[in-house]
């Protein structure tokens, strides 16, 4: 037998796994029709919301403490923010946790020199960056067409950017927790659909939270969902004064930390109970 020296593979450390970010774009490129459908869908949604809120405000100047322009800004930007995590909502994506667990390919997640959590993070980040690109494009179009308000100065823009980032981290962790339940449930389609409905409703994607009845508003405020959309948008449109920003950002940061700990704990539990169906 002519054997070669086996390289000391254990010494190499992964520093290129960030390149997994590109999977999002590669997947979209594999189905080019999506590149046409994505902006079309977004345009239709934005147009319909614009018409809806314009009709609502036909006979009133202000509702729930918001003007028509503020409401349009909130609603249309909420739609754009929903677009950011559109592909990251992993109900039917093949290299998502739900599908990987169901098909048994999750075993490969545990056979890589990066943890399953790290792999998930890079894949989700890629999807979020791709979705964010469409959202940014929509934002520029709406801003240029003066359909929505610009941010309140440079400070407002920075505060909004920070709040938007923290909100996305909160939504990332929440979605991840739903995905990890697959290790116990083996089918979480129903849970995932219900979760995303609740998330969209209580974060302000469907309707701005100020329009909610007091009880629902109170519930939404105490749950992490509002940190995802309502907090950054309330700061953007001026419903929450910038002087309140530190408290709001601290609340978002609090949810980020709590959810990060919960997620880490869940991954540890999940990795102890990997079962693969059918051998």
């Amino acid at each position: 037998m002519t054997s070669i020296a086996i390289p000391d593979v254990a010494k190499r450390r992964p520093h290129r796994s960030w390149r997994l970010l590109r999977v999002a774009v590669l997947n979209e490129r594999a189905f080019r029709i999506r590149l046409v459908v994505a902006p079309m869908m977004l345009a239709v949604q934005l147009y319909l919301y614009d018409r809806l809120w314009t009709a609502v405000f036909q006979h009133t100047g202000k509702a729930a403490g918001l003007t028509l322009k503020q409401t349009l800004t909130y609603s249309l930007m909420a739609l754009l923010m929903g677009r950011i995590r559109w592909n990251a909502r992993t109900i039917n994506v093949r290299d998502s946790i739900p599908i990987a667990v169901r098909e048994g390919t999750i075993v490969y997640w545990f056979l890589r020199p990066i943890s399953p959590g790290r792999f998930y993070m890079w894949r989700q980040s890629g999807d979020v960056l791709y979705g964010g690109m469409w959202a940014l494009l929509g934002y520029v179009v709406l801003l240029t067409g003066r359909v929505i308000n610009p941010p309140h100065g440079v400070t407002g823009a920075i505060v909004f950017a920070v709040s938007l980032y923290l909100g996305q981290v909160v939504l990332y962790y929440l979605g991840q927790i739903v995905d990890i339940t697959m290790f116990w449930m083996l089918s979480n389609n129903g849970l995932a659909r219900m979760y995303y409905f609740v998330q969209d409703l209580l974060s302000g994607v469907f309707v701005p939270l100020p329009f909610m009845p007091p009880l629902m508003l109170a519930i939404a405020t105490w749950l992490p969902f509002s940190s995802g959309v309502n907090v950054p948008l309330s700061l953007y449109v001026g419903r929450t004064p910038l002087s309140h920003a530190p408290g709001q950002l601290a609340l978002q940061l609090f949810w980020c930390l709590v959810l990060a700990v919960v997620t880490k704990w869940l991954w540890q539990r999940a990795s102890q109970r990997v079962t693969v169906q059918g051998g």
Binding site: A30, R94, P113, V276
Partner: protein, 339 residues
């Protein structure tokens, strides 16, 4: 020999799952949901084995024998309930990310390739995940392509590949980062003979030229006969046999048969060192026993009887394995059931 010298060491490796049994009768589904009957099932039971570096061994057993569970413990995917396991000197489930660099794996029909992307892009993504140096990556790709002929289809999305093409890509993907140890769990299931032979050639090259250790589970006995010198036979989670195919044949009656046709009817057929399997006057079948070889029997028949035709029939490995499995099934059914 220390646990580091061998590629794989397992001692009393056991895996027990807790499964929920369904209630019977009215409201069974509801009762099962809120008050499940939990039962412990031992899938792998005190498995002890060693695999040396550069060895290609077959892990055999009938469906449900515990082969895949054993592989998943050896790869670190599953945590054993008890026992010790070392792969490349490490406890695989305690250091999964480091262990991942030492091992590669193919799990039958489960793909690690990105379904909608060309296989070549999956290779590039795996290169980034495993941080494979460019020179090594290029060498590996060229090397794999020379045997597996991947370049003919690696620009096709994986979802459009045939099974044989996809499995060849899976093999390449599993070894792209140059792991010293590779686990193949029924990799050639459902493939045609041409592709099977191609993958066998590939595996032989990986062992003989690259010094890899390969653990293969398969139900394809032709594959075992052509690839593996040593077989590990497990059933009901227990190691039933560890040795060469020749030893397996010797221990489980897997001998050759000598078929003889006479020129004229022969009343008594008796050859020392043989067992008469059948005899109908003009024809007889004899089985060599002990140290007697089939060649000895042929020589004895020709010298003693008016032989018109004589032939040696080796016992089919499939039949041998079936007999071994059935014998163990009988033994197990009469023994105490597993906890």
């Amino acid at each position: 020999m220390s646990d580091v010298d061998d590629a794989i060491v397992a001692r009393d490796l056991t895996k027990t799952f807790t499964v929920a049994r369904k209630h019977a009768g009215r409201f069974a589904a509801l009762r099962s949901l809120f008050d499940p009957v939990l039962e412990k099932v031992t899938v792998v039971d005190r498995l002890t084995m060693r695999v040396a570096r550069g060895e290609l061994v077959a892990l055999l057993g009938p469906n449900g024998a515990g082969k895949s569970t054993s592989i998943k413990m050896l790869t670190g995917i599953l945590t054993p309930t008890s026992g010790e396991v070392y792969v490349d000197g490490r406890v695989p489930h305690k250091d999964r990310t480091t262990n991942a660099r030492s091992i590669g794996a193919v799990f039958g029909q489960k793909t690690q390739l990105w379904w909608d992307l060309p296989a070549r892009q999956s290779f590039a993504l795996l290169r980034d995940i495993f941080d494979v140096p460019s020179a090594l990556y290029d060498r590996q790709i060229a090397d794999f392509d020379s045997i597996l002929e991947l370049s003919e289809f690696w620009n096709t999305p994986v979802r459009n590949l045939s099974l044989g093409q996809r499995v060849r890509c899976e093999m390449a993907a599993a070894m792209l980062h140059d792991p010293p140890i590779v686990f193949l769990d029924e990799p050639t299931i459902g493939m045609d003979v041409v592709v099977k032979e191609q993958t066998r050639e590939f595996l032989r090259a990986q062992v003989q030229e690259r010094g890899r250790t390969i653990v293969l589970t398969t139900h394809d006995m032709t594959e075992v006969a052509r690839l593996c010198e040593r077989v590990l036979l497990i059933n009901h989670g227990r190691l039933m046999f560890d040795g060469t195919l020749t030893q397996l044949k010797a221990e489980h009656g897997g001998t050759s048969h000598v078929n003889v046709t006479f020129v004229e009817p022969v009343a008594v057929v008796s050859v020392p060192g043989t067992r008469l399997v059948s005899h109908d006057g003009m024809r007889a079948v004899l089985a060599p026993e002990g140290a007697t070889t089939s060649e000895d029997v042929v020589r004895a028949l020709i010298s003693r009887f008016p032989v018109a035709n004589v032939g040696v029939e080796e016992t089919n490995l499939e039949d041998l394995m079936r007999d071994v499995y059935l014998a163990q099934l009988d033994a197990a059914s009469s023994a105490t059931p597993l906890a």
